[in-house]
Amino acid sequence: MRAPWLDGAPSREIILLCLLLAALILFPALANDYLITVLILIFYFAYVGQAWNLMMGFAGQLSLGHALYVGLGAYAAAALYVHFGISPWLGLWVSVAVAAGTGGLIGFLAFRFGVAGVYFAILTIAFAEFARLAFDHWSWVGGSAGFFLPVANYAKNDLVNLRGSPTMFYYVLLAMTVGAFLVCHALLRSRAGYYWLAIRESPEAAQALGINLFRYRMYVVVLSAAMTSLGGVVFAFYYNNLFPEQVFHISRSIELILAPIIGGIGTLFGPIIGAFLLTALAEGLDEIMRTAGLDIPGVKQIFYGVCLLVVVMFLPDGVWPPLAKVLQLDGQRGQDQPGC
């Protein structure tokens, strides 16, 4: 895992990014509704994948229960909106607080008592399962029968209450994906970013260099949980229904880590590339199946499995690092800068 994000990104990279961003901003004007919904899905996975990647890719803390934070964020903002008419733009702060608090609790239990590696991952699964069972029996938010938001009139966009057309969600999620990218980019150039990478590479050596492991691990878990919960808020208002059996299910946790794994763990572009590849290919497969008149249940899961297998076998660092090399976007810092 190289680190192609440190030290002055080449202008070529920035130009390409700006072109891509411009294309994405213009996209809804040219595309049909179906393509917009596909892009919405891609942005969602890129965003939550980036949030997960912060924790796993940069600080080396494996979470297999990130659906927990999506779910908490979704339920908190949705419940406040449905029960009290509070705008999601205010509700999201509660979502962030709840998710960050829960992440902090898990982190505290794990890092205070030396639960690390696989055992930490199991702890994250356990908390997601606790939440699933608890929400199943919590009638205030619908219990296992599900929690529903009033379905919006798509003719009019109401950004304040996040009620509106897919195009509105498209732009909201595009902004979030770009925002998450910029935040992670800045974090990685900060002191905390260096410390997270050091902890990922060797906790003992990091500690010997004066890094408080507990503190920096807590930071990253809380931050990742908070970021992920925002994805949950948009998820709730976009789909308008929440079922604990789906939202908190482990398959959701797995689904949201596939993009960064396939794109490249520990890279800033990995989650984005991964989300594009996975979602676009899965939707393409769907389309082919439909045209062919085939209906095979579970084909998407099998497809995900095959993708994962191919990446693990042939591209262990993910798609982005070799792609960056081909596109000559990996900085080539060594050649550009003589000496240090």
Binding site: A3, R191, E204, A205, A208, G210, N212, C340
Partner: protein, 241 residues
Amino acid sequence: MAALLEIAGISKNFSGLKAVQNVSFNVPEGAIVGLIGPNGAGKTTCFNLVAGVYRPEAGEIRLAGRRIDGWRPDQICRAGLGRTFQLVKPFAGLTVMENVVVGALKQSHSVRAAKQIAARVVEQLGLQSKCHEPAGSLTLPDRKRLEVARALATAPRILLLDEVMAGLRPTETDRMVGLFKDLNARLGLTILMIEHVMRAVMALSRHVVVLHHGQVIAAGAPGEVTRDPAVLECYLGEDAL
């Protein structure tokens, strides 16, 4: 004058094995002290007790007068103690420069300033031609150098070196010896070194502590210690002279 590092009667067992027993010695400010002894004598355990990896079961450790036994390694680092690992632990996925920046960030919260500090240290250790290479691709001697660079970048008052000369060619050893001599003379850096390479120990230390079976069996000037019958018997052997 009180010593910078005072070790008084520290002990550590590993499930019955007495790795370090009642070890006491001092490292005065500005000194270079060598810690020698045969394999398994408890030298690295001793280091790990001082650096906070293990908590001593008995005894006291003081750094600049403050008790540090029982502190975490990061607290001890911030108190002014830098260390290298015998089994090197580079941040393999990061470049050489980034590795050293992590150390330098203890001195400065600003990444920009830390990079400047790191660049100087990288140059001191002769790693500048490799500063953008991933640390995982370095040869062992370069990894040892990187260990030293990273520890130095934290601007320690005392540096604990665990066999940093092992595996170096004689010319490289001399270069490293020269560097430590210079740091000691110019900045007053205090050094405690575990070393098997006698060439380096003799060149650097005016005081040597010999450990055997977890106990101090001799201490003094290198010339005296190497003539001590107990030391000859356990460690150097007749042939060494």
